[in-house]
């Protein structure tokens, strides 16, 4: 199965002043693939996926997203951002707008669709994440799990081809983690290309096509979930997994 390569990191390096945040990243992700990136904190996982929609820039190497070479040109960046959705750990919903307004904002202002069309689309996506009845509420009136689902719906309103998740459940109470992971699994089953930074190993085992382990800015190991969890090759991966299992 030779699916199209939608994301391609080629010898990407990033420095924050003197700190080498990303070291020689080489990673290819294909259409419809679900990739989970894990690793200790400070390993550069968030930085990596934030490069994909240009929320972070890099100093050397090449990054191709959906066939476009990602440079600091605002036109390319705008185009990419309309096809790459992102969900954040802190939800980042707009508190001064209602749920519905949160969702219709981008379609109206970026894609220039009419308000009616945007509303229809928004309600569809809210339905998809099972939260359509909360459309008139404001984000502060919702629970964490509900807010995250709204955030997912908001990204889906632009009909992206790739969805990025930056530790989507890390800020949630345990009882709400399940509902968000459920929505993400649904998305995966519908064929969405997903790159997910998470500590939820159960989710990785169940949904991921590939697990990537990062440590100190470099990709240490990547494999299928089965191989990754049962047969970790590198010492650092083994140490990390031992830690994870211990804390579970």
């Amino acid at each position: 199965m030779q699916a199209k390569t939608v994301i391609e990191f080629e010898r990407v390096n990033k420095w924050y002043k003197d700190f080498h945040a990303l070291k020689n990243i080489n990673l290819s992700i294909h259409a419809g693939e679900r990739v989970v990136i894990c690793g200790p904190s400070g390993s550069g996982k968030s930085t990596l996926i934030r490069c994909i929609n240009s929320l972070e820039t890099f100093q050397s190497g090449r990054l191709k997203v959906l066939g476009q070479n990602l440079v600091d040109d605002s036109r390319t960046v705008q185009f990419i951002r309309q096809s790459v959705g992102m969900v954040f750990q802190q939800f980042n919903l707009f508190p001064h707008l209602s749920v519905l307004e949160n969702l219709t904002l981008a379609p109206i202002w970026v894609e220039k669709v009419s308000k009616a069309q945007a509303t229809t689309r928004a309600l569809e996506q809210l339905e998809r994440v099972h939260i359509a009845d909360q459309a008139a509420k404001y984000p502060q009136q919702l629970s964490g799990g509900q807010q995250q689902r709204v955030a997912i719906a908001r990204s889906l309103c632009l009909r992206p081809q790739i969805m990025l998740f930056d530790e989507p459940t890390s800020a949630l109470d345990p009882e709400m983690v399940g509902e968000v992971l459920g929505v993400m699994s649904d998305l995966a089953n519908q064929g969405m290309t997903m790159v997910c930074v998470t500590h939820e190993m159960g989710f990785a085992k169940a949904v991921a096509d590939r697990v990537v382990f990062m440590d100190q800015g470099e990709i240490v190991e990547e494999n299928t979930p089965h191989e990754f969890f049962n047969n970790p090759q590198i010492l650092r991966t083994q140490a990390f997994l031992a830690q994870v299992i211990k804390s579970n």
Binding site: L55, Q78, F88, N92, F94, H96, L105, A106, W109, S155
Partner: protein
Amino acid sequence: MGDVNLNTSGVTPSSLGNALINPQKTSLKAQFSFKSLWISSLFGSPLKALSTFLVIAIFIWLLPPLFNWAFVHAVFSADPQACQEARGIGACWGVIREKYSMILWGRYPYADHWRAQLSTVLLSLLLLKSTLRQEGLRRIFIEWSTVLGLIYILMSGHLGPFEFLRATVIVPIIGKPFPVVPSDLWGGLPLTLILSVVCIVIASPLAVLLALGRTSSMPLFNVVCKIYIELFRGVPLISVLFMASYMFPLLLPNGYSPDVLIRVVLGISLFAAAYLAEIVRAGLQALPKGQLDAANSLGLGYWQAQYLVVLPQALRVVIPGLVNSFIGIFKDTSLITIVSLYELTGSLTLALNGDPLWRAFKLEGYFFITFIYFIFCFSMSRYSLWLERRLNHSL
């Protein structure tokens, strides 16, 4: 009884009612009524009791004489003789009666006072309307430019391209002549209001731009805005007005000297923008970084993100600071006396200094204009509180 916790959060109307019906069954919390809270706050400890008595003593010492002076022994008629006799004993409110016209309308020609009065009323109504109802930007823009344009025509008498209407339409309709009134004759309350409103309207968007530039990552904008802000904050408003009024014409091509009022508006606006910019910047910095991340990841452009996401939140957070500045600007307009323009404070000086009969009663005059300033400033601060409360319902 041990340590008594003065926690009145347990007091509800029902618990108080319960206390009345079943005094024995009430809880300890319900026994602490509003009244007992006051008494314990004022007299609870020796130190509190002492300071309470001190404050009461000061009030007893100050208030009766003040009341006597202001009301009991005061002269209310416009009689300079009676006022002189009552000096030191009673206030001379007669000076207001005699001079209110000049204090309120300044040097504006007497026959055309109706134009100044109408302008004041129109502007006040516009402000009231804008603060009460929330309307779209376009509607606000149309309303404001219409009213401000109308006020300009009323106050100045300039008709521009419609000069031909003056003799043919306007004079017959209003029944009296409609002469041009040069801007250095504008004065009093209308001048204070118009100046404040126009300067705030110009300074606010400029302040937002400055704040955005100041927080921008592009060094050019950053440095230019930083210099501007520090420059205008580093000098007193008086010197800005002085320079705007006397030095500005020197810089322009020969002979061209813009209206003194325009120079003053420019000076105050540029000055105010620097202060407002720092307040807006504080609001920008209070914004969680994730908001910009979300806006960017949705594909919003820079200006879209500012308009839709950043500014609505940033400005809401600093409403108290902004209104504080607006109140300051309103009162700072009194400095334009230095360039021979006489707004409310200046016209008081003008009204009383030149008249030997009433010159001694400046204090009463100041009470009068203080009262007017207070009405406007207090309205602004109440509005600010109301706005915060209303916006917090959705935030």
